[in-house]
């Protein structure tokens, strides 16, 4: 028999390292032809930080992302940005790049103000042009750059950002993170009571990321996190015997595969963070955190039997169902 269940999982997650300084720096060089060179220590391991940082630099300087070149993770040229961990790089390196871009922009705007006999504070950059009081002017960024170079002015910037945190005292009091991301996921699952197999049918994943700099990339994080969360809930386990791993191969360590993929509906919630770059927080880890919780609750909903031990494998389910059949389960729960 197949039994369906629905479960909810919520989470919050502090962005950045816990209760300690964890700054990131960035350098930026706006070259003669309008290229924006961003030097960052931030390692892109596939999550897409280099793209997000390029968008932030382009956004601040009002140029196209195609004009941005990000050189990342080379200690010979880029400042320390700390680790790609703790879902921290969009928020922390994002702010560092934003500040570096702002510094270079100030040089440009000052020069533009001189050319236009305007106040720099009335000006901004967009679409490669200087805008004045919300109106596009014919003056281009490239022309302003040429004017700067004529006077021997370079357009460079450096920025660093350290989230405002405190340590925790011996009772744990403190403000260990500058901001938190939030999420709720709803899982719909089906349990085959003959085989004990749990199939995840649909996941609805609502994530407050502050602001999605690149929504498709945020979705990609959520979808990937959900699948890793399915593995955590139902499949994955490193098997140990006296400290030795018994299943160190893909053939033996079960991972979710394409055929296990449920419908995943990512919902991006934007509660802008005032200290974030354009309001952004982080999503990398939150993507996975509530998934196993939601699935465990859905299994309990389907079977009336709750599991307290991950992963919830077919063997555990069959054992619990037969125990329940015996009437040996207390209050419908296996403890």
């Amino acid at each position: 028999m197949k039994k369906r269940g629905i479960g909810v999982g919520c989470m919050f997650y502090g962005i950045g390292n816990t209760g300690m300084p964890n700054p990131a720096g960035a350098f930026l060089d706006l070259t003669d032809d309008g290229t924006v060179l961003v030097l960052t220590g931030c390692a892109d391991i596939g999550q897409g930080s280099s793209t997000v940082l390029a968008q932030i630099a382009a956004g601040e300087l009002g140029v196209n992302i195609e004009d941005v070149l990000v050189v990342a993770g080379d200690t010979g040229v880029s400042p320390d940005a700390g680790a790609t961990s703790a879902s921290r790089q969009t928020y922390i390196s994002g702010n560092a790049v934003l500040l570096a871009a702002r510094q270079a922009k100030e040089v440009l705007l000052e020069e533009a103000a001189g050319i236009m006999a305007a106040a720099a504070s009335d000006l901004c950059l967009r679409d490669g042009h200087v805008w004045r009081a919300g109106e596009k002017t014919p003056l281009t960024v490239k022309e302003v750059l040429a004017a700067c170079r004529k006077k021997g002015k370079l357009t460079l910037g450096s920025g660093w950002f350290n989230p405002e945190t405190t340590g925790m005292d011996e009772t744990g009091r403190g403000a260990p993170y500058a901001t938190y991301s939030y999420a709720t996921q709803v899982a719909e699952i089906e349990v085959d009571t003959e085989t004990g197999k749990v199939s995840v049918l649909r996941l609805v994943a609502a994530h407050d990321v502050g602001r999605a700099i690149n929504p498709k990339s945020v979705e990609g994080q959520i979808e990937g996190g959900c699948l890793m969360g399915i593995g955590y809930a139902l499949l994955e386990e490193v098997k140990l015997t006296e400290g030795r791993i018994g299943n160190p191969r893909y053939a033996e360590y079960l991972l979710p595969m394409s055929l296990d993929v449920p419908e995943i509906h990512a919902i991006i919630v934007e509660e802008p963070e005032i200290t974030g770059p354009f309001g952004a927080k982080g999503v990398g880890e939150p993507a996975l955190i509530p998934t196993a919780a939601a699935i465990a609750n859905a299994v309990a909903d389907a079977l009336g039997v709750r599991f307290y031990d991950l992963p919830i494998t077919p063997e555990k389910i069959l054992a619990a169902l037969s125990a329940k059949g015996d009437g040996s389960a207390r209050m419908g729960e296996i403890t």
């Binding site: 391991i45 596939g46 990339s217 979705e219 990937g224 053939a251 595969m257 394409s258 993929v261 995943i264």
Partner: protein, 162 residues
């Protein structure tokens, strides 16, 4: 072990080189020919990162010995794109956001190509099955499946135009 003369067509070009018969096709591709787009993820045919096409059929190059591939037409990721451009499947992977770390991407694209070379209107289930030998730990497969669907549409569209 005495080397044998390995002759095959790789990405449309003939190759002819001495190879130890114990070598895997993967080593010939990566080390002897320098085509490093084909990745090694596990070396035992479980992850699909080393997927190449052998006479149009997707295989794990880590499980194929060089002599087994002799005389075959081999396509690696380097042979997918037309000169100076991208193949519609590659375009679709970028457009759909199907690339994250990129390590599974070459194998995924070749698995997708093997499917779409035969079927330009695959069901989602057919797509999932076609890439079921290829592991991805980043994307959750959703955008990869979307990309293959999108590529199918692009390729059918092109077909209509021609």
């Amino acid at each position: 072990m005495k080397p044998f003369r390995f002759t095959a067509t790789i990405n449309g070009r003939p190759v002819d080189l001495p190879v130890n018969p114990h070598r895997r096709l993967l080593d010939v591709i990566r080390d002897d020919l320098g085509l490093t787009g084909t990745k090694e993820g596990c070396g035992e045919g479980e992850c699909g990162a080393c997927t190449v096409l052998l006479n149009g059929r997707p295989v794990n190059a880590c499980l194929v010995l060089a002599p087994e591939a002799a005389g075959c037409e081999i396509t690696t990721i380097e042979g997918v794109a037309p000169e100076g451009g991208l193949h519609p499947i590659q375009e679709a992977f970028l457009e759909a956001g199907a690339v994250q770390c990129g390590y599974c991407t070459p194998g995924m694209i070749l698995a997708a190509k093997a499917l779409l070379d035969k079927d330009l209107s695959p069901t989602d289930q057919a797509i999932k099955t076609a890439v079921s030998g290829n592991l991805c730990r980043c994307t959750g497969y959703i955008k990869i499946i979307e990309a293959v669907r999108l590529a199918a549409a692009k390729l059918s569209g092109e077909g209509d135009a021609v």
